[in-house]
């Protein structure tokens, strides 16, 4: 965390840490109201006339990415298991819905239920394999599964092979706008609540020191799997809707490795391990990528790569994390003031 005087000096005069700290406390105290307010704000644009077109699509996609980034963060940021293959859930949800709607002529809502079931079953099996791995192995294994599923999908007929599936008679865009918004709000509420419960604490414990968590009596496999299935649920829901939203689904789109990197970047840049971070990161990065894509075709992914490198090296805590660290830096000295005196007498060691 950078506390070097030069940058901090400027920031301090504009927004002193104490004030930011109080702002964070305020947000924490009124978290539910903030989420509700966000939901209302998000619901407004169509009311004021935005019912179709490019902007609506962009906003819908923003919500979508926020869902994906937040889902990733449940396992990656809260539990400390960075998956490079979350899109597997997305694709399975998408194909399940597409197949059910197109080939089995099932209505959209019921098909979604089927998609969720498929995703959860897959997540359970998948989880049995990958969740016993740690660090590098876990990350690469999830990537391997994503790519394996992509390859298998390419070779099967039921999924339309390499050409994918085209869908007709899909609901209008506005349905998807509200769908993604609703899923996002629900997910934010769920994650926000969980981070305050024992379950959320245990996930964080697994992230900080899994061995210690085990030594304290927590069956970490159980909790990791629960987090994994939760992330799969939301990702699968989003994927399930996406196929219809996009009217087209092929292995490249459904199991999109580039998107997987994007959503990790979003969570990272916004701030992993927080509720607001991945959402902010998703909104921000998606907007930037859209803008770059429209003005400098083809360069958006170069930008993505560069952005990832810069964030990892300079701002690994992301927006929310860095701000929080800045706001709390006084914490230790201020509140620990009493302990500091004990400190002198008690810890003049090491």
């Amino acid at each position: 965390m950078s506390t070097d005087p030069d940058t901090s000096g400027l920031l301090r005069s504009i927004l002193p840490p104490e004030r930011l700290d109080r702002l964070f406390d305020l947000c924490g105290a009124h978290g539910w109201k903030l989420i509700a307010a966000g939901a209302v704000v998000g619901a407004l644009p169509p009311v004021f006339g935005l019912r179709e077109g490019y902007m609506m699509t962009v906003l819908s996609e923003m919500f979508l990415f926020a869902i994906l980034a937040l889902s990733w963060d449940i396992v990656g940021g809260q539990t400390g298991y960075p998956s490079f293959g979350n899109m597997a859930f997305f694709g399975i949800g998408g194909y399940a819905t597409a197949i059910l709607v197109k080939d089995a002529a099932i209505s959209f809502p019921i098909a979604m239920v089927g998609a969720v079931v498929a995703v959860l079953v897959f997540a359970a099996v998948n989880g049995l394999i990958v969740l016993r791995l740690r660090g590098h192995y876990f990350a690469i294994a999830t990537l391997g599964i994503l790519l394996a599923i992509q390859q298998v999908t390419r070779n099967l007929d039921i999924t339309g092979g390499a050409s994918g599936k085209i869908l007709f008679d899909v609901p209008p865009g506005i349905v998807f706008y509200y769908f993604f918004l609703a899923v996002l709000v629900v997910e934010m509420a769920v994650v926000y609540y969980l981070t305050q419960t024992r379950f959320g604490f245990i996930l964080n414990a697994i992230r900080d020191d899994e061995g210690k968590a085990t030594a304290m009596g927590f069956n970490t496999t159980y909790y990791k799997t629960a987090a994994w299935m939760l992330a799969a649920l939301f990702t699968g829901l989003a994927g399930g809707a996406y196929g219809l939203f996009n009217t087209f689904l092929d292995p490249q789109t459904a199991y999109n490795g580039a998107w997987n990197v994007e959503l990790i970047a979003m969570a990272l840049m916004g701030g992993t391990g927080t509720v607001a971070g991945p959402v902010i990161g998703a909104f921000g990065l998606h907007t930037i990528i859209e803008y770059v894509e429209s003005s400098f075709v083809g360069w958006q992914l170069v930008l993505l790569g560069a952005a990832i490198i810069v964030t990892v090296i300079r701002f690994p805590k992301g927006v929310v994390g860095t701000l929080r660290a800045y706001a709390n830096e006084m914490d230790y000295y201020e509140r620990g003031g009493m302990a500091a005196t004990d400190d002198e007498e008690v810890t003049t060691d090491e």
Partner: protein, 297 residues
């Protein structure tokens, strides 16, 4: 008979996989980094050879000797690229969260891929090497000469790397750093430089392999990821930091792939490779020769 042909084909291409994996194994063992941009070094090597040849002859064609002349240049260029990447970017995240190290190399991989697309378009290219008679018959089997040259090239590159590590001072420094960086530093080894050299020579060998790959398969900007993942499979099988392990693993993987392509269909090759990856991770082998892959970091 057909099976023997597949096996031979597999060995021939497998050596190239091995040459690529060897560098990956080295970086993992010495710098403790899984270099997700490793495949891009292969791609860059292929393109470097392609452009060198194009400049020399005006087209991407040439004689064997002309092609082989590009190899030292390719190796040199990729060494510099690898060294620079480690020194400027990767070194800054060493020792931090594993996730961050994975992400930085991933970011580099994407940036290089996309820049390549911008620079050279996404169209696949290949190098045509002229032979009077492109294949030879050996005991009833067809052996394309270029594949044989590529095989030899891959083996030579691997052997040179191995000898470098065993016989030179820098090689010993590299091995020292892989075993114990602090002790190495105390003995006066410039650890940062050594790590960068490791990155450099790994990238150089991968790049050389890429040049050969350009002659027998084609190259396109996004080919890298597959090679990175194959390297991962090979190294998990053969052992982190082990060159003989990577060689064996590479040859085996080549054979498995060719057998799949021949007996089932070439469409399933990648699916098989990725499934192998997962199976290996589940079984968690100790690795044939190397220190074995911990799953606890």
């Amino acid at each position: 008979m057909a099976i023997a042909q597949f096996v031979v084909n597999g060995l021939l291409v497998g050596a190239l996989f091995a040459a690529v994996a060897v560098g990956f194994a080295l970086i993992w063992g010495v710098v403790d980094i899984i270099n997700l941009a490793h495949g891009e070094m292969v791609m860059l090597g292929g393109y470097t050879a392609y452009w060198l040849l194009s400049i020399a002859t005006g087209t991407a064609e040439g004689s064997v000797l002309l092609f082989l002349a590009t190899i030292p240049v390719v190796v040199g260029v990729l060494f510099v690229v690898g060294y620079a990447l480690q020194r400027t970017l990767v070194s800054r995240v060493i020792g931090t969260d594993i996730f961050l190290t994975l992400l930085v190399t991933f970011g580099i991989s994407i940036a290089i891929q996309q820049l390549a697309i911008q620079a050279w378009t996404a169209n696949p290219r290949s190098i045509q090497v002229a032979f009077a008679d492109p294949s030879m018959a050996v005991g009833g089997l067809v052996v394309p000469k270029m594949k044989l040259v590529a095989f030899a090239g891959a083996i030579v590159l691997t052997a040179i790397l191995y000898l470098f590590l065993q016989r030179t001072r820098t090689g010993r420094a590299i091995r020292a750093v892989s075993q114990n960086p602090e002790a190495a530093a105390l003995v006066g080894i410039d650890v940062e430089h050594t790590r960068a050299v490791t990155f450099g020579i790994s990238s150089a060998v991968a790049g050389g392999a890429g040049a050969f790959i350009a002659t027998i398969l084609n190259i396109q900007p996004q080919m890298g990821l597959i090679y990175t993942l194959k390297s991962f499979v090979i190294v998990v099988f053969g052992g982190v930091g082990s060159i003989p392990g990577a060689l064996t693993g590479g040859l085996l993987l080549g054979v498995v792939e060719e057998l799949t392509a021949g007996l089932v269909s070439s469409q399933w090759t990648l699916a098989v490779s990725f499934t192998l990856l997962i199976v290996l991770l589940v079984i968690k082998p100790k690795g044939l020769f190397g220190t074995g892959a911990d799953n606890e970091h």
